[in-house]
Symmetry: C2
Amino acid sequence: MASLKDVAQRAGVSVKTVSNVVNGYAYVASGTREKVELALAELDYRPNLSARNLRRGRTGVIALAVPELDAPYFAELARSVIKAAAERGWMVLIDQTDGVAARERELLQGVREQSVDGLIFSPVAIGRDDLAARTDATPLVLLGERVLDGPTDHIAVDNQSAAREMTAHLAGLGHTRIGAIGAQHRPGMGTARLRLAGYREGLAAAGLPYDEELVAPTPAYRRADGAEAMRRLLALPEPPRAVFCFNDLLALGALRTVLSQGLRVPEDVAVAGFDDIEDGRYSTPTLTTVSPDKDRVAKTAVELLDTRIDAGRRAGRGAAACREIEAPYRLLVRESTVGRAG
Amino acid sequence: MASLKDVAQRAGVSVKTVSNVVNGYAYVASGTREKVELALAELDYRPNLSARNLRRGRTGVIALAVPELDAPYFAELARSVIKAAAERGWMVLIDQTDGVAARERELLQGVREQSVDGLIFSPVAIGRDDLAARTDATPLVLLGERVLDGPTDHIAVDNQSAAREMTAHLAGLGHTRIGAIGAQHRPGMGTARLRLAGYREGLAAAGLPYDEELVAPTPAYRRADGAEAMRRLLALPEPPRAVFCFNDLLALGALRTVLSQGLRVPEDVAVAGFDDIEDGRYSTPTLTTVSPDKDRVAKTAVELLDTRIDAGRRAGRGAAACREIEAPYRLLVRESTVGRAG
DNA sequence: CGTAAGATTTACATCGTTGGAACAGCGTTG
DNA sequence: CAACGCTGTTCCAACGATGTAAATCTTACG
């Protein structure tokens, strides 16, 4: 692997001159530049990034930390983030926390500090206090939960109002017994709490009572959890006729349970989700859901991080105000609540 | 951010001694060690990885290159790879090629050479000649296609025999008009070619004729492609009564088309896929598929890479023999071919 | 008590790049 | 023609860690 030194030798100039050419420094005589470029090409020179990073104090890498990549929502998000990052010249390192608090905390405490220039983080297990206790100075952008006035940049859809709208949609169809799947009593799970709050608001707005019995908590947010929760709900003496699941995977699991018990969706039970993962667009029936603009979230996250990294570099840790950004979402009404005709 | 120098100063020893402690060098007096460890802790020292990498000539990062992360198969694979890598102390950088040949070629030519110690690569667009023309010296492990005697380590299931078995399964159910979805005429797409070959073998073994009409090519391997291809097949004067889709996404799209035309699966049309993505376990009906052992593939890939990286470090480019590893798979028969009772 | 064999610690060079400042060439200007 | 201001190039130090070899300190032994 050729180094600047090799190229310099071959071109008959100093190492710094080669460096200047590589970095597009203006004051290089065109003759010299040509010579150097030739040598560069002949030796197929590529800068040693470790050395460059050491010198420049940055790595060109950002980390994306998510609970698990195989949850379609995070896979889709990761795709968008990697794409947005690539457009700005960043490489992306992925960390999976499995939603384990200890692992999430590690990240905040800077396990990756030396390896990346910034972190885009979608936490599920930690809370505001963990964030406040953070010592790591790496620029950080949080995704997915709405923690107002947090000490960090933050992007999220308004979970609560989206949940409220979805519940209103179900109520608007005439449903009076509307269940919810995905409540979480663990601390930290802000998303679940917000969606539950929205659900309650939606019920209240429709003049419906809140019935604890219709709210099924789940240990996680995978299909199996939704399927299981739905089984519990259907086993009630008076099961719900509509269910709002706190994400699409839960909804798909729920769907499966309903259908496999010989019931029809939405005629017997209407099902709605949250996230708009691709599966829901091809399930039978297709899934009514809340669709956050993932590309937008990803793009904004990378931009935010980008500015913050630049800022950190220019001003010495000049704490620019933290931005709370609300990402747009849409309610997508599909077959699982209104049927084929709808 | 504290450096070795700061720690050394604080502990009143030389930089090298601190380095020795950090690296667990044996000959450090216990008193010294304690002093140093104290200072280390007090300053919350973390090694500067750029510097360490520069010195040691490795990065601690491997890259995983896949077409697109939001295809569940690759998301699940990525999850397993990241996990397996983490267990061996590697970080994982992800590249998405979108199946674009130019991007895949770039990787072979070493865009990441300076950033990672090794590459796990699931190519779709490039061929054997591209591999042969490779100049980059970074250890490489290929996933997913079976290119025998390639110049690289390689892990894959036996696509052809798996496809043959699946076709045999369909024929065994009494089907005589068995379609295939996902043929590709682009060069390089070894996977499609192998699965098609297996399909033909399966037909032949069952004494069935190969009917070009029943083979639907698709531009890509997403749900929409499967849905569209299925529409074409169903529009035939005599549509197939069973369809083998070359991956699960195609199958799920096909499923959707069949069901939305008011037909039943498997009674009117049986559908089978390939990959065993989680969606297929929760679709209605659940999807019969070929299940490659992804965890095993990922683990093996990381191990292979690991040994090759070590080898490259020890022996100077000593070309250890390239290994072709066949990953196990199972045929999972579910509702989409045999119905609920099955 | 001198000395050799360890044990422990240190000094120094080095990995490949880049920032900063010094240096050299050279056409202008006063 | 000396001083000046450009342009173009080079030299040197530094980023932070580690390998090498040498320096220093113990300990055991004759």
